[in-house]
Subunit: 655 residues, 2 copies
Amino acid sequence: MASKVRVNQDLQRERDRANFNLEQLTYIFDGSREYTQKRRYLEKRIAEDPELKGGPNYYFLSNSEKYANGVRKATLLAKKLKEYKLGDFTDAFLLRSIIFPNEASPMSLQIDMFIPGIMGLGTEEQQRRWGEKAMAYEIIGTYAQTELGHGTHLRGLETTATYDPTTHEFVLHSPTLTSIKWWPGGLGKTTNHAIVMAMLYTRGKCHGLHAFMVQTRDLETHEPLPGVEVGDIGPKMGYHTVDNGYLRLDHLHIPRMNMLMKNSQVLEDGTYVRKKSDKLSYGTMLFVRSTIVKGVATNALAQAATIAVRYSAVRRQSELKPGGVEPQVLDYVTQQYKLFPVISQAYAFSAVGLHLRNLYLRLNYDIQQGNVELLAEIHSLTCGLKAFSTDQMMWSVEICRLSCGGHGFSQASGLPKIYDVHVPACTYEGENTVLYLQCGRSLVKALLQAQKGVTLSGSMAYLSQVCDDKCSVTSQVTVDALLKSYEWRARRAVHKAARMYKGRLQAGEADYNAWNQTGVHLVLAAKAHCHKYVLKTFAESIQQAEAGADVVRVLQQLCLLYATHGVTTNSGQFLECGFMDTRQLELVNDHMLRLLTDIRPNAVALVDAFDFTDDKLCSVLGRYDGQVYENLYKWARQSSRNETQVRIFTTVTPQ
Amino acid sequence: MASKVRVNQDLQRERDRANFNLEQLTYIFDGSREYTQKRRYLEKRIAEDPELKGGPNYYFLSNSEKYANGVRKATLLAKKLKEYKLGDFTDAFLLRSIIFPNEASPMSLQIDMFIPGIMGLGTEEQQRRWGEKAMAYEIIGTYAQTELGHGTHLRGLETTATYDPTTHEFVLHSPTLTSIKWWPGGLGKTTNHAIVMAMLYTRGKCHGLHAFMVQTRDLETHEPLPGVEVGDIGPKMGYHTVDNGYLRLDHLHIPRMNMLMKNSQVLEDGTYVRKKSDKLSYGTMLFVRSTIVKGVATNALAQAATIAVRYSAVRRQSELKPGGVEPQVLDYVTQQYKLFPVISQAYAFSAVGLHLRNLYLRLNYDIQQGNVELLAEIHSLTCGLKAFSTDQMMWSVEICRLSCGGHGFSQASGLPKIYDVHVPACTYEGENTVLYLQCGRSLVKALLQAQKGVTLSGSMAYLSQVCDDKCSVTSQVTVDALLKSYEWRARRAVHKAARMYKGRLQAGEADYNAWNQTGVHLVLAAKAHCHKYVLKTFAESIQQAEAGADVVRVLQQLCLLYATHGVTTNSGQFLECGFMDTRQLELVNDHMLRLLTDIRPNAVALVDAFDFTDDKLCSVLGRYDGQVYENLYKWARQSSRNETQVRIFTTVTPQ
């Protein structure tokens, strides 16, 4: 790639002086050489595919056109999955991420939730009945759970499914305004089916939330069916390509066999039969959350870092040396302090995401074998890591955008698009504060168990150790020493939350209130626990990396930067109780600053190794060739506002 | 207002139990009773003005329609300024902020920069020639300084203005791609004039940056004039209502008298004459930056808090007490911890903004009298406070948005609109990191002076005190005690940065490099200094407040929350060197949590007291009446995507 294009001289010089094997680092970031190769093969194939190459410039489309283009591409994605003979979900996710660069597909829930829902919740007959059609895109579905007035709290959902034994039908109904299904992707306009989560009533009794297959639109005319009101929920901060929708059901009758009955059944006479525990569906939830760490947080961090670092190498501004040439912005230590930690976060969360995938596979195997021992711990961990990774991602992406000055605010930078499409991950699949609280509560509960003599294992084992050691950081600032500090900090945070919780109980407060009053400290404990876990996983992944000494060296630098930067930005928690003293903290700070200098020569190479194509980044500032200015100018001239010299207004009439 | 509408019961109950005089607090937030009255009068008048009331719903407009509607409203604003007989700039700003709720006007630079530029930089004759026409909107202008490749560094600007004594003209030219003027608001399509900043060359010598009046478009046809290429720079993250533009000049000849010559002149024969120092224009820059603290940061914080707090009172979710009703989200301590500090920030920055306005008036008077003693200190302070206030604002607005869960991501929340239009304030009028560095450097320089025996005055006086005291926080956590802690922290941060800088010099590094290497600590020092200044100003404003004991009490709670929250979130800097010990820190943390409980009953009233109209907030979640769900539903149904049941696509053709 580099050889064919005229590359900005500053950027070329950066690349020339990199002193490690980029290719190896790319494999590590991707998880394996095979994955990298497959990704590149598919990227190339799509770039050359006559139906997919080119396409309109996303940034110049109206909201309406963005959706239309989304449907066009979603349809092509379905076609290409067949054409390229790509079978499994990993391939489908990969292909989608290439065809939709930092865009959401209006049919994404087809493979994210609709097909998995049929296969996971449906009987074998139901799997045959709908699964094959869904695989062939003969029916297009979504998953409707969240309601206008209800999100996190599943027991609060109001949609009802009442069984009528005389007709052998369920009557699905939205009894209130707040029960209208709200937010599901593709629900508004694109899909014709939905798995609807509703409170099941039979023989006068409520049996809680169950899944029902509902056809929402006619397969020929695409008109909504009687009893079904569907529509788009209106413009959002991002996700313009998707028709997030609403669904209001008015006594809609569906056959009994439209209840997905793998785990529970309603018999013809209305008898309710529960067959299986829902431990398995926990597994799916864990899987989705773990994919967010790699697919969303890591991906967004790495892209934002790529754009900001490349642009900072090209952009020259102000003066350092009086009368000297304007330096590259990347030579300002304040800029390095903004961007290099983001690079380290991307590599750290990549390691965590890959690790979680393996953990999930092991867990899934265990569950299939009836062993659910690890489930609670991994559930807690996944809650925390989903929240922690997306949390850091959101602030870091904005820091990258701000580091690009005014041009960062232009859509040409690609950074607003990255932010808008990925920041919802802080809210969907478990709102972050809710997840932190779950994680924090489970840590406190584990500690209380440990205090009763129960031995903790896995990621929580360190909690039962004593809390009175001192920081061992000396003039040698190492990851090992810092890891012990992170453990101390997390342990102390959990102990503190536990103490507060117990104190409230002892003061006579009700249990629920004691938890609520401890909320702020539960979140802190969860963050400290996750932070430690990320550092540990990152460090271990480097030990296991199949790579040369040069690659290991830069990864170790990044890992130590991740560790020292985390201490610096959370220093209070390390200084508490005199665990770390001010001198030690200053050693860590100084070492962090030195690492910025060490990493500086490799900065551009470290983001190049993420190996994003220009098609993926959609960024003028982050172009591989660094020809930023001439392309900003070209880009601007394409803007629809420049189609005429004198602006002809669309008429805007007051309502 | 409250009496006429059906208010959500939860919200009404919140209002009923408020225990302070809202009206008094509104006057304090606004700065005076007179201002509140004037604002309300204008809000009412505009709401009833047949030409202004109603109008299209911003959220459902295309990018193109947003601009068209912006021009329509900007034109009406000009008309109304005359019609309402509003003379001064304060009135003009106020009227604009009402007509453009969280939107930018495509003609905003007319009153922000174009007219002030003519008046500040033009001779009396030039003021007569262009000033009156500009006031009457017979010419529409902007201010073109930033270039494609150059922002912060003014000496790096490349546009040239070369005097030709044979024709008595200046030749304005964009010699390179990077010299194209880029970003000025209204430059692309709306305006027909621009004050262009260019490097002045006469008699073969460059005299630096000067201002030139350039007509860009024909006053009749609005076509660009020969030698002028103008256009829109393309879509941005926000500011859709504005045609931020580019300007490429190709040897454009303008008369000699189009140079704005109040401070410097080029005579007919090409002789360059400098008349005045530019201290005065510093004053303008300070003024603009100080208005950002109140007009942008405070305004955005207060609006975001209003929306999130009201919605959190209406929204019920999950359970605290097992089996109990779903509680208001506002009853979760984690939610209070997110939102109440934002309320305190809004009141704190309001006090700072009002204080800076007075400081500016005094400074301006001093400068007119030839006294520039205070200039350097106030310049440094204003740099820091502009950065500090917009910095906190940006994170806080996003925290408010996230606190609203999924609905926060909908444009219906109003929060993305607030973010997109206000976040550029982190970059414009001095990029925040650049400003922090300026502030930090001036603090270090002052300290070095003090160490040589110079007495520091004003906001820097505390720097010369010794650094070895201990924190006086005991079981009584008070603002006074914490203010001393903030002083200690800031002083130590400045001392530390100074030590690092001097250490680098002593190690033989060049001065510029020593500054650069100290950058991270200069930013920390500047933030600590500003944080202290904000707390001090807020506390003093309460002492001076004309208000009853009830209002003073809630303000004191907010001030103490601001103080304790700042310690909690920056605890490391207070624990360093053992200044504060862990027990003291825990006292502060505990007190902060108690304050959340104390503030809870007044939370809704505290945001009501900001006194924003629904027209201003443009938020379904933040409606005064709290009727959130039925209006989300109504709002969604208005969306253009719901105009037809079956979506008819706009054709999207690949390029």
